[in-house]
Chain length 420, copies 2
Amino acid sequence: MSSTRPNAFYAQSGGVTAVINASAAGVIETARQNPDRIGTVYAGKNGIIGALTEELIDTSQESAQTIAALRSTPAGAFGSCRYKLKSLEQNRREYERLIGVFKAHGIGYFFYNGGGDSADTCFKVSQLSQSLGYPLQAIHVPKTIDNDLPLTDCCPGFGSVAKYVAVSVLEASLDVRSMAATSTKVFVMEVMGRHAGWIAAAGGLVAQQDIPVVILFPEIAFDKDKFLARVDALVKQHGYCSVVVSEGCHHPDGTFLAEQGMRDAFGHAQLGGAAPVVAQVVKEGLGYKFHWAVADYLQRAARHIVSATDVQQAYALGRRAVELALEGKNAVMPTIERISNEPYEWRIGSAPLEKVANVEKTMPRGFISGDGFGITDACRSYLLPLIEGEDYPAYRGGLPVYATLRSQLIPRKLAPFELA
Amino acid sequence: MSSTRPNAFYAQSGGVTAVINASAAGVIETARQNPDRIGTVYAGKNGIIGALTEELIDTSQESAQTIAALRSTPAGAFGSCRYKLKSLEQNRREYERLIGVFKAHGIGYFFYNGGGDSADTCFKVSQLSQSLGYPLQAIHVPKTIDNDLPLTDCCPGFGSVAKYVAVSVLEASLDVRSMAATSTKVFVMEVMGRHAGWIAAAGGLVAQQDIPVVILFPEIAFDKDKFLARVDALVKQHGYCSVVVSEGCHHPDGTFLAEQGMRDAFGHAQLGGAAPVVAQVVKEGLGYKFHWAVADYLQRAARHIVSATDVQQAYALGRRAVELALEGKNAVMPTIERISNEPYEWRIGSAPLEKVANVEKTMPRGFISGDGFGITDACRSYLLPLIEGEDYPAYRGGLPVYATLRSQLIPRKLAPFELA
């Protein structure tokens, strides 16, 4: 590293996705293409925690082939974490540590790859160059399967989950349809999405293929009687019905159908189990034989059935983040701007982080059908391009070949640091 | 139809799979290639029930392209059912009705595509030509994701579920590994398999990729303390651990972990929910943060990630069933015979139905590791060829294109029949 070529720090944050490593590949490959401007890209082991503990993975030790293979490798190749920095006033010690580590390793660029909470952290870090007097540019690379970041048309990770959900609901519905005459009549599938129903909405795409489906969105309070009436009508008409329930589906009083009483590091309720609750409601209310599935991590890890559009956008946003840094920007996030639906065209824009942090974009009411159980044509037009295209990993011996990193840490220069 | 060319009846039975329609394509295409010997193939609407109710789908109304497309369409294209014929003594009425329908429509071949219960039904039907004096050849086409039929090396449907499970466990494990430092440490995935652990065993294939995984087989009674000790050791060593639990996993007293108190038409317990039970055991015993998934129908409907080997074998068995009929055979089932593991070579054999019906092939103890929580090299060598190869469906607009049949019923000739 030379003093005229700052090094870069890259970290993955929050829940991982099937395409977050494609963004990592975009960051690292673009940095490598600018050796006169950027030194080494160090990746935080387990996200921002790696910066605090001075556990920095030297990505220059990874071959070009390995970095390229990240494009088709799911989950967080460098490790991610759920760890939210408090405000500078509340935890000055951590920010000073960050600056200490960055200074010790000549880091001038901070690329943070995450969702809403991470955008907030990234924004705080972007302000450090002023408040703590260390020159640093912080760029946020958007990522969240929840698709709930503002100012971007969509979020990398979402399109692939949407494709997984639509394909899975289609396939399981064909299964149920095959046997409904004598067996299961109602199939319930639980999907992720705590506050925003984007993922559940993807299940609605199968309605075009004449599959009867009821969506339970977190945006719409659960109305048991209305729900049972809708399911009953569909079963009477089609012989069966599929239900896609968001983990964030809640009763009118705000309690989740799936509440388990646990909370994660960000204080979010730990959910899981809305599907069996809904299945039980169907059984008790209508007596139909049911089956239920909970996709959980399978949906966001499913690199084997990603959307090609999603992979391309994840990579492009990683690439653009580096370009923005080289253009001297700070406190920004590259975004997806939709130009048209048919044909689908998009370009990369950018948004000030200040306006991104802590804003949650839920489904517009106009995307949810009048009865609250389906999606509108506008929603369909929005979703379809995002699940377009297949991008299969290579296989060996029947299993996908995913990148294996050396993940070599650079030698520590500072004293150990205790996490709060 | 001419009197010298008997028609054929084909029906799908029991739980459907991602490749049962490939067997249907094998039957129908092979019959079409022998127009001098076989008239029309009629498919039972919703399986054997369609024969009893005289709801016969005229497959000659389907184009060659549609029949070919069945090869890449999941679930039961003609409908399936869970309906077990009792013995001739117990329910002579139903057998006489079957013969009545077959006689009315010139049916001389009976192809029954199912698992163990269906093999039993097929065997009973094969004996009718003697006992009720109607000339009929009954051939069973094996199909079951449970892989529990005897006398065949494997069963169509299984290889694809095994691939789905192995790929899903691999992907979800990478997800957990990414975040284990601050988040979920134990991931539990429930898979099908009531009495045989073949499907759960497929989860063990990821151990080769350095993924710590614990398998809970139905063949091994659940030992809570031993299980917790194993999970704890793996978490301490790797930082995380995945658990694959069979729906048939049971306590030493024989009660299922997932018992819901419901039973299906065959008297089998209706299961679901072993994963949350196991997750709870982990939480209470070790305190680790957990997540759980229940794949349910997704695993057996997942045409998007089938094994190419499985598709080929499903098709070949359908084809061979017709050839066996043309060779004058009755009461037989074409089987898969394994010639070698490396390279994997197989051929089609056949077995007398008498020896297939009502025999359940569970995992050999030599396929389960000494501690009961993993698979042996012998099991790995058995499983790997079965998940080999990818066979993707076509996609349009981001979703798979699955065959849509006309499913035209032929006119009824008989009086209505009331099912028992």
